[in-house]
Amino acid sequence: MSTVFIALQANEDTRPIIDAIALDNPAAVINRQPAMVKIDAPDHLVIRRETIEDQLGRAYDLQELQINLITLSGNVDEDDDTLTLTWNS
């Protein structure tokens, strides 16, 4: 098992996104660091557009994540509805 992660800037844009990630990934650990939030998960992490839209209360384009993204780790796959990070698939 390996850790995949995504780190986002800590700001008003990302608060509902981080909540959505926590809801979709029960195994994820949220680390709050100065100015950033790093989310670790074992082998797999999924970010879903629908869950973010529920948290945000508006339509959301997953590519908006680019604006507040700091770093990530794992093999990436993105389409209109999900962004996934995986190791050892």
Partner: protein
């Protein structure tokens, strides 16, 4: 910010496919090999370029939209920083040494990466790769510009920022980063991708941008946090490009494996040496520290690098050859670097200093196996010399490694009391190295590295050993930009101005 009125006609995957399909065509009146003359000489075999896809599937319209958004955020904060005495809100002016190193050595590296990716985007035959390299070329240019712009606010008030372009080309410690990027840019396009896209971006930049920028936040430096995170938001895409390219090469042909592995071995070690300076920035130069170099390495080196190489094992890739030596160096390197910077501080366009008791206690706690045993006694001795009015200065010039160009200040991987030194003879000339890793790289491509411009030998061959003339040439003002922080004009100004800013005298 991004309200969608109507549903887009095409999905993300279709849009990306349309972009890459429409840009790729079979040439009819020119030979493909003549259009892409550098695509095969490195020995990498590619059978189907269409198999390469950007997993973010970013199209140009989306790219411009999100980059513009990042710029707006960046400049809003840079304006606020300039309007609100941002230069006085840092913890103290020692912090600026880390920024000066960043501006002199790292921002020019961003510009070099811009040139390299512009070239790689032209030289790769695959459209997906061309588009991703083109975006990265523009990103890297943006990084150089935003960094220079953000730090120009400090240049109005503090020393050592004024001549970063001269420093980049001429000062000894900046030639470390410069030679790294020159080495990558003078390689073929595939090796360039492994050098910058994979080893530097994927394996190593997290160590530079993530804990260091968090550290900038801790030290009240809004400008740097902003350019750092703005740049880093592009890095996620760059890392992904690096990883995708490596997987692509390995999936295209089994003959590519040994070539790719050799580049991983080389560029991991080159990158590890370049980023060594960051260890000192984190452990010594942040007045308020966020985590130690060791802690950052455990997260972004051991855990993340370990995960990456475990994942790549399915292609037959093993961790880089220097991995174990790197691990053995982690608890020593920041101390060895800082001792080096302090003793040669006449030749640095930033300040260094003797750590305080409080700093040393922090270092003991973070490095329980090494600091008190090997490094505290040396600092204690250096402090005694300073108190006696005979500060420790080394006006002898350092022996530089022919490969990484760092002074050989490092110790043997298994003996921290013995300086590591390797040498080899090539065509009757003797060459010196700091490590097995650097000597192996030389031995593999001696004709490349015998051409290196090394700053210390050049001081003698080009300036007759005249240190004053050298200072003029590198635009370093003696007694102003260099030397001990204690007693410097930066220290004096910061204390005075901060006093004025917080009182009504």
């Amino acid at each position: 910010m991004d309200m969608k009125a109507t549903k887009k006609k095409l999905g993300m995957k279709e849009r990306y496919r349309a972009l890459t399909r429409d840009l790729g065509w079979e040439p009819s009146y020119q030979d493909k090999d003549a259009i892409f003359p550098y695509a095969s000489y490195e020995g990498i075999k590619v059978h189907d370029w269409d198999k390469w896809e950007d997993p973010f599937r970013l199209t140009m319209d989306a790219y411009w939209k999100y980059q513009a958004e990042k710029e707006r955020k960046f400049y809003a904060i840079i304006d606020a920083h300039a309007q609100n005495n941002g230069h006085l809100n840092i913890t103290d002016a020692r912090y600026l040494s880390a920024l000066k190193i960043f501006l002199q050595a790292i921002s020019p590296g961003e510009y070099a990466a811009h040139k390299g990716f512009a070239r790689a985007g032209r030289e790769f035959p695959g459209v997906g790769t061309q588009v991703a390299c083109q975006m990265q070329a523009i990103d890297e240019l943006r990084h150089a510009q935003t960094q220079i712009h953000a730090m120009s606010n400090y240049n109005r008030y503090y020393d050592g920022f004024h001549a970063f372009a001269d420093a980049r080309d001429r000062i000894w410690y900046t030639s470390v980063a410069r030679s790294f990027f020159d080495d990558a840019m003078s390689a073929g396009p595939f090796e360039f991708m492994i050098a910058i896209g994979f080893s530097f971006e994927y394996v190593l930049t997290n160590l530079l941008f993530v804990p260091f920028m968090s550290g900038a936040a801790y030290n009240g430096d809004m400008a740097t946090v902003t350019f750092g995170f703005s740049a880093q938001s592009d890095e996620a895409r760059h890392m992904t490009l690096g990883l995708e390219c490596i997987k692509f090469m390995l999936e295209q042909d089994p003959d590519n494996l040994p070539i790719v592995q050799a580049w991983i071995d080389k560029w991991f070690w080159r990158g590890f040496r370049v980023l060594g300076l960051v260890s000192t920035m984190m452990d010594y130069m942040l007045p308020k520290r966020v985590m130690s170099w060791r802690e950052a390495w455990d997260i972004y080196g051991v855990e993340n690098g370990g995960a990456l190489f475990k994942d790549l094992a399915r292609y037959g890739i093993r961790p880089p050859k220097g991995w174990d030596d790197a691990e053995k160096a982690i608890d020593h390197m920041s101390h060895q670097f800082m001792l080096g910077l302090y003793q040669w501080s006449f030749g640095t366009s930033f300040h260094s200093w003797i750590p305080s008791d409080e700093d040393m206690d922090w270092l003991s706690a973070k490095y329980p196996d090494t600091f008190d045993k090997y490094y505290r006694p040396r600092w204690a001795h250096i402090r005694k010399l300073k108190a006696a009015g005979t500060p420790f200065k080394n006006y002898g010039l350092a022996r530089l490694c022919q490969c990484c160009q760092l002074p050989s200040v490092f110790t043997e991987p298994d003996d921290p009391t013995l300086t590591c030194h390797r040498e080899t003879v090539y065509k009757g000339e003797k060459y010196q190295f700091c490590s097995d890793g650097c000597m192996d790289i030389f031995n593999n491509e001696p004709e490349k590295y015998i051409q290196s411009w090394l700053p210390m030998p050049a001081l003698f061959s080009e300036l007759g050993g005249d240190v004053g003339a050298w200072m003029n040439w590198v635009s370093l003002r003696d007694g102003v930009d260099n030397g001990d922080y204690d007693g410097s004009t930066d220290q004096q100004h910061f204390n005075e101005w901060r006093g004025l800013a917080t009182s009504n005298l």
